[in-house]
């Protein structure tokens, strides 16, 4: 049970400052995320990482023609784990270079057409 809980938590890692609002409500109540989160040190590190990832991702999305407000709302609905993967991905992958892909596809298509006609 415990290891499963840890597993769920490490996959969620919802420990950012945007986390569930009742965290600050009343000392004494143990929040969902702290049940799932791990030792204190790794926790603090992941809070920092998560916050960085979020702002990075918001910026990255804004660069792709999404208004900052909309980008923020989009990222807010993601878990920290999702944001983490996305943050790295948008930077690493030239995913948006669709113009180039279309050109390539056209070239291949034309070659194929020519070959077919013969």
């Amino acid at each position: 049970m415990k290891s499963r809980t840890m597993n769920v938590l490490s996959r969620l890692l919802i420990v950012s400052t945007l986390a569930l609002p009742f965290h600050s409500a009343n000392a004494g109540m143990i929040g969902t995320t702290s049940i799932a989160s791990q030792a204190d040190t790794s926790n603090q590190r992941s809070i920092v990482t998560a916050a960085l990832n979020r702002s990075q991702t918001v910026n990255a999305l804004s660069a792709y023609g999404i208004t900052p407000m909309s980008a923020e709302a989009r990222v807010a609905s993601m878990t920290d784990a999702e944001v983490a993967t996305l943050a790295g991905r948008i930077q690493a992958a030239p995913a948006g270079a669709d113009g180039g892909i279309i050109a390539l596809i056209l070239v291949v298509f034309l070659i194929w057409l020519v070959v077919q006609r013969r």
């Binding site: 569930l20 609002p21 999305l61 999404i66 609905s77 983490a84 993967t85 996305l86 995913a95």
Partner: protein, 358 residues
């Protein structure tokens, strides 16, 4: 990248630029390759021949899935609108474009498709990358959103479509795709395109409907992600929840199936607590403690709620049931100490109900 296992890894990758028109000529390429050896290109289709998933019908179709013909590169918004409509949520491609379409990328990211479904109050459940799971969901009446790569070789042509049915004897799947209301596609050709997107797919269901392939851990991850999204939205723009809270509905359905899940139980009570529904939170925790009498978290939280209901004696009884060993340096030692302090403070301020009322 956080060390997360199968389904969430799938929620990562690329952008779908909705290349439907490339289908025809890449089909030719795939068919040629298939002649070489289809078990290499489409291993899961080959495996189905000898190992059809048990209990899954050989033919099925969810006929009432609405269809929005894709405009431009909006296969993401169009397919998500269909999925949400089928889950009884109002949405159109236009209303979703601002949530899932990135003009600069010319497509929609998988993570955003998942997040947008969540925002709409549905449970977005990413399937394991198995043909058997996809078929099982469709057979259960759940359309499946898939990511395909309709390109070939090094060229990618990402596309979102919805599998609404299949006929195994005929070797065909039926999809809402692009401009085609009911696209017929061979299993092999479909797998070749689906495989290139790492077999990514998801179902989008009302919170009280469990995916046919749901497992305890993945389902809880999906629900807690939804709870997170809901809480953030409430914090950003508080809305009076006239309708029942979808997170509560989802967690209750989850606990009906897995009643002894500690985290799920704690989460349900916490969602009630966040909505200031203290009696509901108390009820949830008492129910949970029947299944998990030794849970420190559940008992501490029950005590804290009782304090806030001015039932100090009851609270004290609960907190005193915790073994002495967890109080001092245990994982939740600080929280338990807080709860004890809160009980004392409430008593000192004379705010406790008379014991006779407890």
């Amino acid at each position: 990248m956080v060390g997360c296992s199968a389904p969430l890894i799938g929620v990562v990758a690329g952008i779908a630029n909705c290349f439907v028109d490339t289908l025809r000529f890449c089909g030719a390429a795939v068919l040629t390759t298939m002649a070489v050896g289809c078990s290499v290109v489409t291993p899961q289709t080959a495996a189905l021949r000898t190992d059809w998933p048990r209990g899954v019908a050989l033919t099925a179709e969810v006929a009432d899935v609405p269809f929005y013909p894709q405009q431009g590169k909006w296969c993401g918004p169009a397919s998500l609108a269909s999925m949400l409509n089928h889950a009884a949520i109002q949405a159109t491609p236009d209303s979703l474009a601002d949530q899932v379409f990135a003009p600069g990328l010319g497509g929609s990211l998988q993570v955003e498709m998942v997040a947008a479904a969540r925002r709409a109050g549905t449970v977005a459940y990413t399937l394991r990358p198995h043909f058997a799971d996809l078929l099982r969901e469709v057979a259960a009446g759940h359309p499946v959103l898939v990511l395909q790569d309709n390109g070939f070789g090094l060229i990618s042509a990402w596309h979102y479509a919805i599998v609404v049915g299949y006929d195994y004897a005929a070797g065909e799947l039926f999809l809402r795709s692009g401009h085609t209301h009911r696209l017929t596609m061979p299993f092999t050709l479909f797998e070749a395109s689906w495989r290139r997107g790492n077999y990514w797919s998801m179902v989008v269901l009302p919170p009280d409907v469990m995916p046919a392939t749901a497992n305890e851990e993945d389902m809880l991850v999906a629900l807690l992600a939804m709870a997170h999204s809901f809480a953030v939205q409430q914090a950003l723009a508080p809305q009076s929840t006239a309708k029942r809270n979808p997170v509560v509905i989802g967690l209750q359905a989850f606990l009906a199936r897995w009643p002894a899940n500690e985290l799920g139980n704690a989460a349900l009570a916490n969602v009630h607590y966040a909505q200031q529904e203290l009696s509901a939170a108390e009820g949830a925790l008492r129910m949970a403690l029947r299944h998990l009498p030794h849970s420190i978290v559940l008992r501490n939280n029950l005590a804290q709620i009782l304090v806030e209901l001015y039932r100090c004696k009851e609270a004290q009884r609960e907190i005193d049931q915790l073994p002495a060993s967890v109080n001092a340096h245990g994982r939740f030692g600080a929280d338990i100490a807080d709860t004890r302090r809160n009980i004392a403070a409430q008593e000192n301020a004379g705010r406790c109900l008379a014991a006779i009322n407890q």
